[in-house]
Amino acid sequence: MLKNIRNFSIIAHIDHGKSTLADRLLEYTGALSTREMTDQVLDSMDLERERGITIKAHAVRLLYKADDGKKYILNLIDTPGHVDFSYEVSRSLASCEGALLVVDASQGVEAQTVANAYLALENNLEIIPVINKIDLPGADPEKTKEQIEDALGIDCSEAVYASAKEGIGTKEILEAIVKKIPPPENTDEKPLKALVFDSWFDNYLGVLILVRVFDGMVSAGKRIKLMAAGKIFEVSRVGIFSPKTEQVEELSSGDVGYIIAGIKSVTDTKVGETITDADNPAHGLCPGYKDMKPMVFCGLYPIHSHQYENLRDALDKLRLNDASFSYEPESSLALGFGFRCGFLGLLHMEIVQERLEREFDLSLLSTAPTVIYRVTVKNGKIIYIDNPAMLPDKYEAIEEPYVVTTIFVPKDFIGPVLDLCQEKRGVQRSFHFIGKERVRIEYELPLNEILWDFYNRLKSISKGYASMDYDFLGYRESNLVKLNILLNGEVVDALSLIVHRDNAYCKGRELTGKLKEVIPRQLYEVVIQAATGNKIIARDSVSPLRKDVTAKCYGGDITRKRKLLEKQKEGKKKMKQFGKIEIPQEAFLAVLKVK
């Protein structure tokens, strides 16, 4: 027996109109009255709305009476729209039977269109192409369809034309969902098997787990087992989002909803986890579970050392809601006590930092981001290094993470894009025309190299037209060295970085130059050196302050002079003291600006 349920996601490149379309579907099906609508309801965090990025996945139940006269439950599972969260996207997609592939008719296929569509195809989803923004003057729906067929091999003969902004095509999309996406099977009698695709901590309810039930049923009072974590909890409540939370009697096969079971930490409810009946367990986990490990690390330090405890509390609180983010105390000679934090990617890192500063009112200093290196030391023992300062002087081999990067770019910009990938130590894997105008290029690149201003440069050399996506490939051995920065002969650990030996000289010189620009003149000469091992490879210096302004105190206006001195004092508060030298925050990020 089949159920009148359709589970679907919306996938799109950033800004192709996913959130607006979700709003239209909610509005059309009456899930929210127009009065209740604020634009883009599903993006509930402030940051998400400001940055236009969906960070957390959400699920909403829509009720729809179709043209065939029957009533359907449509579960819309929203997905995050950024490459850092691709695993979360894949688990959301695994919870569905179909997906709307939204493509902007004026922009065409972009890197994340392809990346997300592949994720959907891997999960055997029925894909419904939606050509969006057809009302825009530059829209070319026919060309967009060709691109989808070329790049993805998806049949576009029945693609829906839409303008989510104008409400065009909304009904057609709902009909296509009902007709094309297969309904879930009724397997209520089997042992419970539910996939976790999101979870978060609520101050009043504890952890809310978002699940797709594949087999069996779950209701309050049942004992459930989190299979990967091996932990057992008792369910206190189950429910759905309409989009407001609404308690229900039970969730059964095919349903999407939430479970509350007195769980205190999201580390127990990782995305991809399988929930089963503790007293009648299913055989095996839902496929595709991965324990997501942070890929990008940086040190976070309070600028004012008395904020250390506040920073720890803030990290604790953030961690309650974000299992993919890690932190450990560390200390640095230059920066004092802080934390080494791990993130899924650069965007994830920026978001966490911004939330720490905004929501917890902290002033933070962050070191340059780094990847995690695999180092073979004596006797074949392997250690992982997430802080360049920790790289031992002697080791047998060092490996760095590689990613495969997919870039979409108009053909006019091919040259500079290839040059950039080459400069970043890339190895070309494939090169295909998509239609006549656009090219899809795949490069294998060290992850480390795309952390360093890669995306910004890609955007600037392609006048903003290029888009990119990347996927982890594995570790590869590289000829890497530690580049140390010395100020007046002392290594500043927080400025160390790991670079390819061929680039060491160049980067050392550029970095000392950048530091010379950002370190202000002081009472003493500041000698800036770059070194690999004991070898100095670059040197620069900031000459000592020889003179400052000795403006007169005129007509008894002492206040003016005081304000000037106060301002200088305030400026110095933002600096870190390293021995006698004062280092401004920008210095720690100068490495990012090195090509």
């Binding site: 002081q522 009472l523 302050l545 020889r546 003179k547 400052d548 302004v549 000795t550 403006a551 007169k552 105190c553 005129y554 007509g555 008894g556 206006d557 002492i558 206040t559 002079k561 005081r562 000037l564 001195l565 200088q568 004092k569 110095k572």
Partner: protein
Amino acid sequence: MKTDFLYIHIPFCIKKCLYCDFFSLHYNETSAREYIDAVCKELSMKKNLAAELKTIYIGGGTPSLLPAGCFKQLFKHLNDIFSLSPSAEITVEMNPQTIDDSKIDTLLSIGVNRLSVGIQSFSNDELRTLGRIHTADNALRTIEGIRKAGIKNYSIDLMYGIPGQTMDSWQDSLCRAVRLSPAHISAYELTPEKHTPLYRFILSRKIKMPDENLVLEMYNHVTEYLSRNGYEGYEISNFALPGYRCIHNLNYWNHGEFIGVGAGAHSFINMIRLKNTEDITLYKNNLAGSILPVGESIHIGSGESIEEFIFLGLRKTEGISIASSENLGLNIIDLCTDLVDEGHLKIEEGYLRFSKTGIVISNAIIVKLFERLSVE
């Protein structure tokens, strides 16, 4: 508490100089006369703040623009309401081109005994760059008039670090100044302040400020040259023949209190720093209604007071007295041991003072001391 130091601000100029961001207005005689009436009213209201005055300093603007009648009215009023010490230092600031022999006689007759002349440079090119209205010849003639009237105690203001100025022309200006044998010379570094035409010219690259090494050389030259000619440097920018230090200005650097009168004038009384309003209409209206024309007031707390004691005192060549620091509960020696070791500061004869190399980076050093004070 009563104070012995009085400042009167005359905010009128014929034309504002390109580098000036002090408060001044375009001169006209009617409004100057009304202004002096208001100043007299303010003086009356403040008469209880003063004991026996040791100094009166009339600054501006260009006080010498005032008609003789205004000076007579002002000094009659001053003598009526204040008691003046017989040895009081009474200074009037003046600019060349705004004074003649008869006005000098008037000033002498009413008791003025010190003049401060804003010459700035003896190079006509530099004077034009600064937007001054006078020439080198005008300046010489003004000084001649002063000397002819038998006035010995006068001061000359000079500037270095002027765009286009060379070491040669600076030496020349100094040399010509010394030849006039003033009792006092002030040598200021030109500093481009925001909101001045000069600042905008620099931003738009119409004017280029001289290289910092040249300016440093100019500063070193002035201290050395004037001391060779008998002038003692007693403050960063001030030099005097023995016995001719400016008592009024020394009071600022000694962290002393003073009464300020006039639009935009500053006062320091009972640990409060006051600034009168610069709005001249409001100034006159307030006083017409017997209201003190206070624009801003800031209370100086004990921490700030110590900071002021340090940054003002260290401007003086002799520095700050270690004994008086201790009276304020300040252990100044411990605060700066390393800076003394490094040669930026010196401890001599019971005083803490800047060294020759320290004085030119005094702001950086003072900010360091402030940081240490706020940690304690």
